[in-house]
């Protein structure tokens, strides 16, 4: 058994999830592939969204994959960092907006 939870080499084995559940695995990869095709959003825009979400999900495989994907598309490091800030802003905003719930509770109990 590996001594670490994450191994970069595992990303290359992602496709193997179909080995133990072929139908569901194939449906997932078909869906995944379709999502990232050019559509109302460009593939470039989707790559930046994926990079931001990779960070908010804190998925090391996804961060590796979408950093490389961005470089392949000519996306600059400044664009990548800005995308991550969008993710970070939503994450922190989502935390802080719950502060209103705390304020409501304080006001009700101790107002």
């Amino acid at each position: 058994m590996s001594k670490t939870y994450y191994d970069p080499a595992d990303l290359r084995k992602f496709g193997k999830i179909t080995d133990w559940s072929e139908e569901l695995g194939n449906k997932f990869f078909d869906y995944y592939g379709k999502v990232f095709e050019e559509g109302a959003l460009t593939a470039r825009e989707k790559s930046l969204i994926a990079l931001a979400v990779s960070h908010t999900e804190q998925c090391p495989y996804c961060i590796d994959a979408y950093t490389k994907d961005g470089l392949e598309r000519g996306i600059t490091k400044e664009e990548m960092m800005e995308a991550i800030h969008v993710g970070a802003a939503i994450k922190s905003g989502a935390t802080l907006v719950h502060g209103v719930q705390m304020m409501n509770k304080v006001n009700k109990l101790d107002g």
């Binding site: 290359r12 460009t42 593939a43 470039r44 490389k68 470089l71 392949e72 598309r73 000519g74 600059t76």
Partner: protein
């Protein structure tokens, strides 16, 4: 002024100067222990081994390894210190071939081909042969490097030369990182000068194409999308226009191999190339319709094999013995670097192939 950031492997006296050493690296390790299939095994899976030369379409001549730039990933290991330059005598032998070849494209490369002292004479003579597409691979900065080169755009125009130039990104940072400080600004100026005399303009017969190759250990993205992004950025920021963008994969040889090893990216990069292997690209890979001639007149299946000192597998070895019929049908000499030309949409000196 261009500030050279790196030195050629020759100047550094690197072990990789020996092509034998490069070929050992490409055949050992992950390719020896069976982790990854050798290129020969891979193409055999689709009955494409041996790879055979078809009818010659492109004659590529490397007129010397001297260059005013020392780009990080140069597969030629070109630089100001390289003294290998094609002589007039070898050029005369090339001209004989150019007059009689069935190839539709003549492609001059280097180094900076313009630094060969006989370059202009050679272009004047070669252009008389009436080959359909006459390419000069110009690094752009040479046009601004010295007063004696300032008139190159007019010279190219006079001889209806098709200019193909490297441009790794539309931003200064990424371009200068790969090609040296100051390269971006000089390249922009040179492109504007080429545009000013008609090169690269819509509907102009003066062809100006750009070559994109990645600035690091990753593969090029979709050629058409990259072309769109390049065109938009260069037009908006600098008013520059060009015809096509060729997306080229960096092959794991010479300075790029050195970079991959030093940055501990070699194995991952080879995995990327093998994972992206596309048998359709093998069908049109450039070595099957191209012949590469070195500065000293020897014949190779491609510029990469030239740098690895892997000569053509034919009785005809040198331009002085040239025989197009004998060369047709020869077995192409391959090694694991060939995965670079078969990844994704494929890669060649004229861009994608699949």
């Amino acid at each position: 002024m261009i500030k050279v950031k790196t030195q050629s492997l020759h100047k550094r006296e690197s072990l990789l100067v020996q092509s034998k050493r490069q070929l050992e690296i490409l055949s050992n390790g992950i390719f020896q222990n069976g982790e990854l299939p050798k290129f020969k095994e891979k193409i055999a899976e689709t009955n494409q081994f041996p790879l055979k030369a078809k009818k010659l379409e492109i004659l590529q001549i490397n007129v010397g390894y001297m260059c005013n730039q020392v780009c990080e990933h140069c597969h030629v290991d070109a630089g100001p210190d390289r003294k290998e330059i094609m002589t007039k005598e070898t050029m005369l032998q090339c001209l004989e071939v150019i007059k009689n070849t069935g190839a539709h494209t003549l492609d001059l490369t280097g180094g900076a081909p313009e630094m060969n002292p006989h370059f202009r004479w050679f272009v004047e003579e070669a252009s008389k042969a009436g080959i359909k597409d006459f390419i000069v691979r110009s690094n752009l900065t040479i046009i601004r490097a010295n007063k004696k080169y300032y008139d190159l755009p007019e010279f190219f125009k006079k001889h209806n030369v098709h200019v193909v130039s490297s441009m790794p990104h539309w931003t200064r940072g990424k371009t200068d990182k790969q090609r040296g400080d100051g390269v971006f600004d000089k390249s922009i100026k040179a492109l504007q000068e080429l545009n000013a005399i008609g090169y690269g303009m819509p509907n102009s017969s003066l062809r100006l194409d750009l070559v994109y190759n990645p600035s690091g250990a990753f593969l090029p993205g979709n050629q058409a999308s990259m072309e769109k992004d390049f065109k938009k950025a260069l037009l908006e920021d600098f008013g520059i226009q060009f015809h096509n963008l060729f997306a080229i994969t960096n092959l794991p040889i010479s300075r790029f191999l050195d970079y991959l090893i030093a940055s501990e990216n070699y194995e991952d990069y080879m995995y990327q190339l093998v994972d992206a292997y596309n048998p359709d690209a093998v069908t049109n890979v450039m070595c099957t319709n191209t012949l590469s001639i070195s500065w000293d007149g020897y014949l190779y299946d491609c510029d990469f094999n030239q740098m690895l000192e892997l000569p053509v597998n034919s009785k005809v070895k040198h331009i002085s013995q040239y025989n197009e019929e004998l060369l047709e049908g020869r077995n192409i000499v391959i090694s694991q670097h060939c995965y670079g030309c078969t990844a994704g949409a494929g890669s060649s000196c004229q861009g994608t192939v699949a």
